[in-house]
């Protein structure tokens, strides 16, 4: 298990809990108790039951035959888009809401970019009858309007965040501030493998059901539980962490994360953190960041609100540094093209985020017999306006 977090919360040189003292009590409580809680039999039983009956797991592993023909290889799609609420985000929120209840918390806060994590959080709060406040950058509120309405219908309060670039980073800042101001009754459901230890590990564990299922489904369908490679998009990196998790020690499996190049990694309008970033501390973790020479965080850009983040989970920074995973990037145009290709070859409209992983297929040399698994992290329902505008339907 050489890619697991160590007891101080680090993956190699990345991670830790760079928190102000105002957050210490909550983070310390989580750090001391999360493993004991989530590994207890009654917790596992309830978590598995909800994933099965409420989320609809296992999500299918689908052999995409026409897309496979197009690329001259074998492509399987892990259909996280078919989960309840339309993305992988629900795996983590189900886990964290159960944990929050065990900790006796009665109020839930969350940040959201594309709105998928916000909807997934508002959903489990409705399920458990807990109060829910979701912070969302004001720009994202306007570009992901249907998800904002869904959250409200689910009973959540959505707070538009006006600071910075008004996107995911700023929403995360505001959620952290809320937690500092409400240290007793509130649990912060972070949506990605970012933030202070133990969040990156905890979220990765909740998402690891993705690769656990992949292994047994691959075995069933191909006779081997190990594919040639696994591809997933990476913003903070939660779906990639889940898709990679149980393959980390199977070094023969190539792991590929795909970042959002935005308008290109050689422009200022990009979110490809590992390509243009350097080590630093943001949102209480030491990781790779987009920043200037003075240590100020620079504003990312991506067509997909869910990848529009200037950092990356410390696990991925470590996988990048050690070479265990390879990280590519795809620009907005390549992503839109890849989304259309999947739509017309397979009848599946992917989320803009997930389409980054699809776009990377054009950059790979794949053998005819290679088994390639793409984590189709979310559905394109929320992105219809962007697609329709671009393609002119």
């Amino acid at each position: 298990m050489k890619y697991q977090v160590n007891e101080k919360g680090y993956y190699g040189e990345f991670g830790g809990a760079w928190i102000p003292e105002m957050m210490y009590t909550n983070i310390d409580l989580l750090k001391r108790r999360y493993l004991e809680i989530i590994e207890a039999d009654d917790f596992k039983k309830e978590f598995d039951q909800l994933l099965k009956d409420y989320v609809g797991r296992p999500s299918p592993l689908y052999y995409a035959s026409r897309l496979s023909d197009h690329y001259g290889t074998k492509i399987y799609l892990k259909r996280e888009d078919l989960n309840h609420t339309g993305s992988h985000k629900i795996n983590n929120t189900v886990g964290q809401i159960l944990l929050a209840q065990k900790l006796g918390k009665t109020r839930i806060i969350a940040e959201t970019g594309a709105g998928q994590h916000g909807v997934a959080t508002a959903t489990v709060c409705a399920l458990k009858g807990l109060k829910c406040v979701v912070y969302m950058g004001a720009l994202d509120v306007s570009r992901q309007a249907p998800n904002v309405k869904k959250m409200k219908m689910l009973g959540a309060e959505v707070v538009p965040v006006q600071s910075g670039n008004k996107t995911l980073k700023d929403a995360t800042n505001e959620a952290l501030r809320d937690w500092i101001n409400n240290p007793v009754d509130t649990h912060y459901i972070i949506g990605s493998v970012v933030g202070p230890h133990p969040y990156p590990d905890m979220v990765a564990r909740f998402q690891s059901v993705i690769s656990k299922e992949m292994k047994s489904q691959l075995f069933e369908q191909t006779g081997s539980e190990l594919p040639a490679r696994v591809l997933a998009c990476v913003g903070g990196g939660s779906n990639a962490a889940g898709a990679f998790y149980h393959f980390l020690d199977n070094e023969q499996v190539e792991l590929i994360g795909v970042e959002a190049a935005g308008k290109g990694v050689d422009t200022d309008e990009t979110a490809a953190t590992l390509t243009v970033g350097s080590p630093g501390v943001l949102h209480a973790a030491r990781t790779m960041l987009m920043q200037n020479a003075d240590g100020q965080i620079t504003e990312p850009y991506s067509i997909s609100a869910g990848l529009d983040y200037p950092g990356i989970g410390p696990l991925h920074a470590h996988l990048h540094k050690t070479g265990r995973a390879k990280f590519l990037s795809a620009n907005d145009e390549e992503v839109l093209k890849a989304a259309l290709l999947l739509t017309q070859k397979e009848g599946i409209i992917p989320a803009l985020e997930s389409a980054h992983a699809l776009a990377a297929l054009d950059q790979l040399k794949m053998k005819p017999d290679d088994v390639n698994v793409i984590n189709l992290s979310g559905s394109g329902n929320k992105d219809m306006e962007t697609y329709l505008d671009y393609f002119g339907y």
């Binding site: 830790g16 809990a17 760079w18 928190i19 102000p20 003292e21 105002m22 210490y24 009590t25 600071s163 910075g164 980073k169 800042n173 952290l176 501030r177 500092i180 101001n181 409400n182 240290p183 007793v184 630093g280 501390v281 943001l282 949102h283 209480a284 960041l289 920043q291 020479a293 003075d294 240590g295 100020q296 965080i297």
Partner: protein
């Protein structure tokens, strides 16, 4: 060389007024004048804020001042440049306060040396946790006669307060209540029990109370339980609307004293 923070606490045990402001705000080159005026009007200690793009422990006032300062062109390099000759005109202790990332990019060892060169007496780096500080960085601060001031809050347990007291030097920054800066709490919201508990713990470091101290009433109240108190957001608000720094700073300090 004796540290000016130690000198201050040996001469004065109560009603110490510490004032925070964000460097490069309201205008890029106001930094030195603000420091000089604060000293002239009777501030005992000054915390110079290093602006950061993502100030997660700060409320709206300091967020805005940081954004503006960065838009004005403030950086850690420029701040050191502005402070180069500060010790020719200012004698009270000066503390740099900010988030760790700009310091980390500058280089923590290099930062400490530069502080010593200029005559900075202490640092407050809220997101550099005591554990990381103790394990990796403490010697750089000690070699440069720089106090790294640590925070405690109403949620900090007694054992942890003792650990922090051990790791800390200069003084302990006692956060008045669970909040980001400038929360505008009233005097009666203060956790009297927490203040009294800590007062009775016989800590080795003196204590200064901060967060939510905005006027004479909150300042006086806080000073009952510690050696002094810190005013931040309320002062930054004065600067925001100021058309006459000299006059407005004088009036502000007078209104507290």
């Amino acid at each position: 060389m004796n540290n000016r923070i130690n000198q201050l606490f040996s001469q004065k045990q109560n009603n110490i007024l510490s004032v925070y402001f964000t460097a490069g705000y309201p205008n890029l080159h106001d930094t030195v004048e603000i420091i000089q005026e604060l000293e002239k009007n009777g501030a005992d200690l000054i915390e110079i804020g290093i602006p950061f793009s993502d100030p997660t422990a700060d409320g709206p006032t300091i967020q805005r001042s940081s954004e503006k300062a960065l838009r004005n062109g403030m950086s850690l390099n420029l701040l050191f440049d502005q402070l180069k000759e500060i010790r020719q005109s200012v004698n009270i202790p000066l503390i740099l306060m900010g988030y760790i990332n700009p310091v980390y990019q500058y280089g923590i060892e290099r930062f400490c040396k530069k502080c010593a060169e200029i005559g900075i007496d202490g640092t407050i780096l809220p997101d550099l946790p005591p554990d990381e500080f103790n394990e990796f960085y403490k010697p750089y601060f000690q070699e440069n006669n720089l106090h790294n001031i640590l925070l405690i809050t109403p949620q900090t347990t007694e054992n942890r307060i003792r650990d922090i007291d051990e790791a800390c030097s200069g003084f302990i920054y006692m956060v008045s209540s669970a909040s980001t800066t400038g929360a505008g709490k009233k005097v009666e919201d203060f956790h009297r029990g927490y203040f009294e508990k800590v007062q009775n713990m016989q800590l080795k470091n003196p204590r200064i109370i901060g967060f939510g101290i905005s006027d004479k009433a909150t300042f006086t109240n806080a000073c009952e339980f510690a050696s002094g108190a810190i005013i931040g957001s309320a002062f930054v608000n004065i600067l925001k609307d100021s058309t006459d720094l000299k006059n407005d700073i004088a009036n502000f300090v007078k209104s507290i004293r």
